[in-house]
């Protein structure tokens, strides 16, 4: 049986590699993310109340909403989980690939693992699409116009903004370098449905991606990435983000030399789950807001 929402939020860690990695990104979005954990504590933080009766009533409504499968919250949680575990497999494959490039005797690994860059390109784009689909599952499509919807997306703050920041830094800048946006757009534009089909992260959430068949889904992913590329590019340039800057901030807890940046991307992939962590926080916040408004 899957875990309840209160268990998921209560079990969020206060330390460990995921939390340390996200804290290392505070320089990019100062003060935006606090690692809020614990179900009752999140109710208190979101609504500002510590009245036990209100906390209990809001919690019960939030639990009921989450458990109603038709409400989409569980699908969103599944998406966050699936892209993170897909990414872990990729992390392992990318490491094998790097080893394969370094040692001739292991060179055959290059034949059975995807080229790191292509795999990472798909991973980044699919994670972004997962974010869009999860957003719609959690929030619906708010407002009466596309403009309202985009304004909602543009209003990202707190843990949602941190998730996007980590996506840009850990899945974009570090593994693919400063020109990752243009590179991903080129690669996605020239990709065949077959290449996409072979990707683990894509396979994990394929059923939830709009577009019909794999070709249509490839179109949807490429278009979505294109639509968000302006936002990402602003995000990077307005903060002057670079791989070196991120690595500099991570050196506090990860020993890494400049020529091993690719390993750092793979290391983060296998050792952190920032999508699930911040996704659980986002979901809890939205559920609690709704529960408080409905009671």
């Amino acid at each position: 049986m899957s875990k309840s929402i209160f268990e998921l939020v209560d079990d969020l860690p206060t330390g460990g590699l995921t939390v340390m990695s996200l804290n290392a990104l505070d320089f990019a979005i100062p003060g935006q993310w606090q690692n809020t954990v614990g179900f009752d504590n999140t109710i208190k933080v979101v609504t500002g109340t510590d009245d036990p009766e209100y906390v209990q009533a809001i919690g019960e409504r939030a639990v009921a909403l989450y458990n109603d499968k038709g409400e989409g919250y569980q699908t969103a949680m599944w998406l966050y989980n699936t892209v993170d575990s897909g990414s872990r497999l990729l992390g392992a494959a990318a490491m094998a690939n790097k080893v394969g490039e370094k040692f001739a005797m292991l060179g055959f690994l290059g034949n059975i693992t995807p080229k790191a860059e292509t795999a990472q390109t798909i991973d980044l784009s699919v994670k972004l699409v997962a974010e869009i689909v999860a957003y719609c599952q959690i929030n619906g499509i708010p407002g009466d116009s596309v403009g309202d919807f985009l304004a909602g997306l543009g209003d990202y703050g707190g843990e949602s903004l941190m998730r996007m920041c980590a996506l840009v830094c850990f899945d974009g800048l570090i593994p693919l370098g400063p020109d990752f946006i243009g590179m991903v757009m080129d690669k996605m534009g020239g990709m065949s449905p077959g290449e996409l089909e072979g990707n683990q992260t894509f396979k994990g959430i394929k059923d939830q991606i709009p577009g019909g068949d794999t070709g249509g889904q490839l179109g949807f992913i490429t278009e979505s990435f294109g639509n968000v590329s302006g936002w990402m590019s602003d995000f990077v340039s307005s903060r002057g983000l670079s791989p070196e800057m991120i690595v500099g901030n991570m050196r506090n807890f990860v020993e890494i030399s400049d020529d091993k940046l690719d390993y750092l991307g793979a290391f983060l992939d296998v050792s952190t789950n920032y999508y699930v962590h911040t996704g659980t926080q986002t979901l809890a916040r939205r559920l609690i807001e709704r529960a408080a408004a409905e009671m």
């Binding site: 209160f6 490491m95 708010p142 296998v270 050792s271 409905e294």
Partner: protein, 171 residues
Amino acid sequence: MIVSNWRKAMMPIVLSVALLFSACSSKEPSKYATTQKETTGRNAPAAVAKNAEAGGDFNKFFPQGDAGFARVFSQEKKGFAEAKLNKGGKNVAVMSISDTISVPTAAKKYEKSTSKIGSYPLIEEAPLKSTGVLVNNRYQVKVASRDPSFTGDDRQAWLKKFNLDGLSKLK
């Protein structure tokens, strides 16, 4: 060299797995255990009533943003719509309309109301820094503060900006 890097990389994973297992000792049942039991399983009731109004039908009754306040729609689900009020890029309040057909106790609390906006009963929930009115005995319109600068008076002022009469005619 590579082998030792690998080990270094694996260490946190091994450690966290070990910690996870050691943390799985017996726990007291949660205070949400009853709700969890009642709302899961084959015959669990839906959290949102089948005939609840579509959230999108509520959008047009929300006030527009004005001087200094940006209105950003943030949730639209069956029986529920929510918009944030932001000032200077900071969220200061949330506004919502919900269909109490899914949560009858929400409508019932207005029986204790002692004041009104127009003909609609008003309730102030101090612990939530929230003020609400009940329209047509069914639709709950709420404004909740998210910043100390947004006072109870502000909440009432914004409630008055909703098209409450329009909402009362929603069929």
